[in-house]
Point group: C2
Chain length 548, copies 2
């Protein structure tokens, strides 16, 4: 009786790139074969990328996905790897034309089995009931005399269904293909759940997850294996490629320890998630370089550091666009930042442009402040047009949620906003973490200390600071978290003990920001943000929590 | 035995405005009572507005909706209208906390029955399985000795379920509460379907629909009643308030004809849908006025005419922003347009602004063209900031889909794009229809004839016309319709007989436009557009139809 050597291929496919993903799968199969694996498992929908949304309904896309499976089977066989069993996720289609979120088992140059995901998540960022039909049958395959049950992601998050079916089918291993997005603290929730499901089926559970960025989502990898008794058998690191190998025990024997790596701290995981999301937005969309405004403030400094970590400082252009209200320390900090990260530093004063506009329009007050901010946006767009850079926006979640930002300015235009889900308190925390991480590794900290320590200001009028308009960020972020992320109403917020005046101020700010966005919608990322990134709300909507 | 006098209240509620919608319901109940109605029926989710998306999951919102039903029941009773039976749609919640899309029957100051929608649409623009639990029971109420079965919208679009249940329950009337969005030609589909369902239950079918705009959706009203044999009993006009009264026959007797109005032509319906969507975006969000750029071209002329029809020309500001490439006829046409519609006409040449920017940035080619276009966007935003107008964007569907537009220019910034789902061929058709409609009514045609007749041009360089860059619009729009609206692939397009070179050119244009939008996402309306307004697609996505 041969031993089952399992390989979990933690990879980063690209949505829609079926040819590229097919090559990626074949490459990892070769590596797994070379490492002596009996079975190699890939994440959910690795062939198509994930999530594919309404591409699932496109017939030409369905045909291409079907051809990819055939190509993988034929190529492996032709290369003498027909004996390797490959389990991968893809888009399946029933005879009646219904799309499935499917696991395919390939061996001997053929498809040996197909499993269709039962539980289709349809909440938060997921819309699977829109595009997939639900499977009904359990799937057990045999490799090296081991009986392996296969399920997909949400199948282990719901009670009943395929895991309950497999518990009665005497399996030796439960293999779970996942496309599970990163959330802070989710690693612990996942592993607790996996231990419970391993106990339920009475067998080890192997969890293989995607990693990489896809628009608003970041998948963190963190693939792992737990034994039936919950013992930690092996795991892969987060946010990178991995081929996690593990020798399953002979049926009835004690499980053997595999490779184990430590989890990073929460701050490090959030930082890496932001960098991964940005890098994949750039690389998967085929951009060559990034341009952003650098003001000397903390948001643009952290964003620029993330950009340099994502694609290298030499591919980042930082543009300082001082006005007559910009302080000398801001200009110095912007220059210092770009030197530290190795970015192309440019200076484009906006005074002559403001003057030309004011000669024609004679604006005052907020309109004048916004004009300055927007002319910076036009400069970045012009550089992007001329030189082909992706414009990125350093706006953070606290200011976007409260509307403390100019729409179409350098903080909100462009294709990607790395800090859109990071509140201001966390901005400071990540900046400090990044600098300390550099110091601990003998590197230059990327972010000027004065950018971290000075009071935040938009510098659109003399002496302005954020706290002229907003509650202290620590308090603001706590209320926003309850209101925005946890969808608590006014009554719930007061019951938590928040001061009534603060609650009313924050709710007014968010309502006002929602209204401003009606005047100039910014895009799905920002529009959805004030009530949480995973919620959908009508734009035209008169519901006011304060009136409740 | 008294006769059942039915009133269908075709109304335009506002999402989230529970107090306002409650007042609207009470007002229509009073009118129905005064008209001697026995039963008054309101559309789907009239109390909350529709669609409410994730507001359905918010507990404070659920509580407010529940209170509204109690308030309506108590108020009617207190005002001596307890004998009127009211059927209305709202958000219901089960004891276990599950939200329902619910019909509530109020009579005698109390809720007499509740019906929960069975079939939850989860395709196109609908996401109801995300937010609602499905009902299971049929609902029959008795009024004036007639047995009335109640269902909601999608319930009649699917076979089986509640209509099949009611067919076995011997009802005298099938009452359908709807939130059915406008699509061109949908009226015919709806009435054919209603006739089939009336035959299925063997009773007349009364169809009451919302009207009004909600973000990307427009509800058209067009409420109606058909007899069991399909005879057309009564109907309300589209796109306006109506209280449609009909005396139901005694059980077994022949049905009586009610009021009937003609349907408008397809062009008129599309025009009215655009105006309704714009007006409700303005009014429901509380804007007072609109500003847009007027170039002398057909897109901005039609958009301005729609704006004047929506809220009155005196609330519209048209800004001509000529550059050195703008022709005299363009300026004349822009002035003529604003005079015809009674808009506030302003001229703001952009030459001094372009000069100031070019003195600093020295752009050439497309970057220079885009700069001109974007400075116009900044001017409109400045006027909006200063004077409070909503900025609207005249971009049409053909140019947005092919990327023949500058991102963040006067054609694409702002809060609402009335022509975003109208292709260029249809732009000309609607302009001609609007002028002919004015002439037929002895009014001044709003759109200058030369704006309709001259060759389209962006006027960003000397002698430029759209056809330098695009296939003829008639052909382009036909290919776009198949590719974008009907999700046909390359193979299907060639099988239709389109020329291969044209297909490849159009697919390249759309792919390139999608890529440009990745660099600067514009908002949900436009991002989704290139593959149809009712489809969702990943932004980061390497699928290319041309490679298929």
């Amino acid at each position: 009786m041969s031993t089952l050597r399992l390989a979990l291929a933690q990879v980063n496919p690209c949505v829609g790139d079926i040819a590229g993903n097919t090559a990626l799968v074949l490459d990892r199969c070769r590596a797994a074969h070379e490492a002596g694996a009996t079975v190699v498992a890939f994440p959910e929908m690795v062939v198509t990328g994930y999530p594919i949304e309404d591409l699932a309904l496109r017939e030409s896309f369905q045909r291409a996905a079907a051809r990819a499976t055939e190509e993988i089977a034929a190529t492996l066989d032709a290369e003498g790897m027909g004996g390797l069993m490959v389990v991968l996720g893809t888009l399946g289609v029933s005879r009646a034309g219904l799309p499935f979120n499917q696991a395919v088992v390939i061996t001997g140059g053929e498809v040996a089995a197909r499993y269709n995901k039962h539980h289709l998540p349809n909440y938060g960022v997921f819309d699977e009931r829109r595009i997939f039909a639900a499977g009904e049958d359990a799937c057990v395959i045999t490799a090296a005399s081991s009986r392996i049950g296969i399920v997909i992601c949400e199948d282990i998050w719901q009670d009943g269904g395929p895991v309950a079916q497999l518990a009665a089918l005497d399996v030796d291993l439960l293999l779970v293909l996942n496309g599970s997005p990163f959330e802070e603290g989710k690693g612990r929730v996942r592993t607790d759940l996996a231990r419970r499901r391993a106990a339920e089926v009475g067998a080890p559970l192997a969890y293989v997850n995607l990693w990489g960025g896809q628009d608003d989502l970041v998948f963190d990898g963190h693939s792992f294996i737990v034994a039936a008794d919950g013992a930690w058998m092996a795991n892969a690191p987060g946010f990178e490629d991995a081929l996690l190998l593990w020798d399953a025990p002979e049926p009835g024997a004690a499980p053997v320890q595999g490779p184990v790596v430590d989890f990073a701290s929460d701050a490090e995981q959030v930082y890496r998630a932001c960098v991964t999301g940005l890098r994949d937005y750039v690389e998967k969309n085929g951009f060559r370089s990034i341009v952003l405004g650098v003001s000397g403030g903390i948001d643009s400094a952290l964003t620029a550091a993330m950009a340099a970590d994502a694609i290298g400082g030499e591919r980042v252009v930082g543009v300082s666009m001082p006005s007559s209200f910009s302080s000398q320390h801001s200009r110095d900090d912007a220059a210092d930042l770009c030197a530290r990260i190795g970015a192309d530093y440019r200076v484009q004063p906006i005074a002559p442009l403001v003057e030309a506009f004011q000669g024609e329009l004679a604006l005052e007050g907020v309109a004048e402040e916004n004009l300055q901010a927007r002319l910076r946006g036009v400069i970045l767009m012009a550089l992007s047009n001329k030189e082909g850079h992706l414009v990125i926006a350093p706006g953070n979640k606290s200011e976007l949620a409260t509307g403390y930002a100019t729409i179409y300015d350098a903080g909100s235009i462009g294709g990607f906003a790395p800090l859109k889900d990071v509140d201001k308190s966390r901005v400071w925390e990540l900046a400090r973490w990044r600098n300390a991480h550099a110091e601990a590794n003998g590197k230059t900290p990327p972010i000027p200390v004065s950018s971290i320590e000075k009071p935040p200001s938009a510098e659109l009028r003399p002496g302005q600071t954020d706290q002229d308009s907003l509650p202290p960020y620590e308090l603001l972020d706590e209320v926003l978290d309850a209101y925005v992320e946890h969808a608590e109403g006014r009554a719930e917020l007061l019951a938590r003990g928040f001061d009534e005046a603060v609650v009313e101020r924050v709710l007014q700010l968010v309502d006002r920001a929602e209204w401003k966005r009606r005047q100039y919608p910014l895009g799905p990322k920002v529009t959805a943000l004030a009530f949480g990134r995973d919620r959908r709300l009508p734009i035209t909507n008169r519901w006011r929590e304060l009136a409740e």
